[in-house]
Symmetry: C2
Subunit: 235 residues, 2 copies
């Protein structure tokens, strides 16, 4: 017996349905259920979530501000496809912001903060064990955001949130299958350094962790991939 399909979301009965739709879409993108380039038709989404196009549009605009979707006039909204250059930029920005943030977190973390971080790691392991890499990736991102929150810099945490979101798209586009995802130990060691207040170590661990991820991406110039048809075929 097959149930009628339902929207893939737990929280659509929230008071502000616009944010709810944005959250649902954001989660779907983070978990790689929506591939970069996917068209997000307003009517389709409105029907799926049982709301009007008005609220769908608000949600899409919200995601566009986070650069998770691309809205083009009279063309529609699409899941964003960061270019190689943008991918480089995103990771350069993360490598600038996050090590410093980890240092601050090491200075100011409380024991309940540590508990929360460890909870993230446990969930991440569970998701991997359940063969749900999308969910694991999303949780991994939340881990980074949580560290910024712990550091007590809400503004920078907001920046990191957008960088993590875009990183998810970048990973979807440029991840090298060959390289195993070996974040488990990195996150664990990081939490330990933060818990023990070892600022310098935390900063270094975060930096090398980001470099690890960065170098597990295939960011070499593609031969003709993203160029114009003319440039690729005329000659």
């Amino acid at each position: 017996m097959s149930a009628t399909p339902r929207p893939f979301s737990n929280v659509l009965d929230r008071s502000n349905s616009g944010e709810a739709v944005a959250k649902a879409l954001s989660l779907a993108i983070h978990e790689h259920r929506l591939a970069p380039g996917t068209k997000l038709g307003e009517d389709d989404l409105a029907e799926i979530y049982g709301v009007s196009r008005t609220v769908v549009r608000a949600a899409l605009q919200s995601l566009a501000h986070l650069q998770l979707v691309d809205m083009r006039r009279h063309r529609g909204a699409f899941v964003a496809q960061p270019s190689l250059g943008e991918a480089q930029e995103v990771f350069e920005a993360r490598e600038l912001l996050e090590p410093r943030t980890a240092r601050m977190a090491a200075r100011s973390s409380t024991s309940s903060n540590i508990k929360s971080l460890q909870g993230h790691i446990v969930e991440e392991h569970a998701a991997l064990a359940a063969d749900d890499p999308g969910r694991a990736l999303n949780l991994s991102g939340l881990f980074h955001i949580e560290i910024a929150r712990i550091a007590g810099q809400a503004t920078i945490a907001g920046f990191i949130e957008t960088l993590v979101a875009r990183s998810s798209l970048i990973i979807a586009l440029y991840w090298r299958r060959e390289s195993a995802l070996c974040e488990k130990h990195a996150h664990h060691a990081l939490v330990q350094a933060i818990a023990e207040g070892q600022e310098q170590l935390a900063e270094e661990l975060m930096r090398s962790h980001l470099v690890d991820i960065h170098s597990a991406l295939d960011l070499r110039e593609r031969p003709a991939a993203a160029r114009s048809l003319k440039e690729a075929l005329m000659r």
Copy 2:
């Protein structure tokens, strides 16, 4: 003879009117024509700009993402009022991002970049001479954003754009009248360092420039200003 009032904007005939309204409001906030806390009624704005509430809402949501306005459910939109803590955070973030950015700009600037920066300075002086400090402040912000653009980091430039925007609100709220605004020399020296490719100097000048602004703010704890009525009056 008094002309009928017209919206304070030059670009309301653009194709995407939502962005146009957002730009007009953003400019008004940057130039301190709209004070923090001002209520932004949707019907009022719709009438002023001659568009429907739909597009006004889109514009307000856009500004809310930049944290220039506060939207509260069933209450309306208001020009944001950054707290003391938020003000500190914003300037800490700027002091983290912008010196590095200035260094990168010094490495990669072209002569046309320099021309553009000098143009900003000239306009800024003109605005000051015309006794239009709001416009001068806005141009000063654009100067900082331009540097980030020159550095070739669009992502970080976007962050700085939001930080500059919030800085404008912070200055409106916390600027000490006593301190003169002495940015002229700072900006000029900065451009020179960037033009000559002196990376270290550019980084240092940007850092000290930001510290100057930061310390020209009165960010001491207010006795009761932003606290709750209860806390302020009950005793």
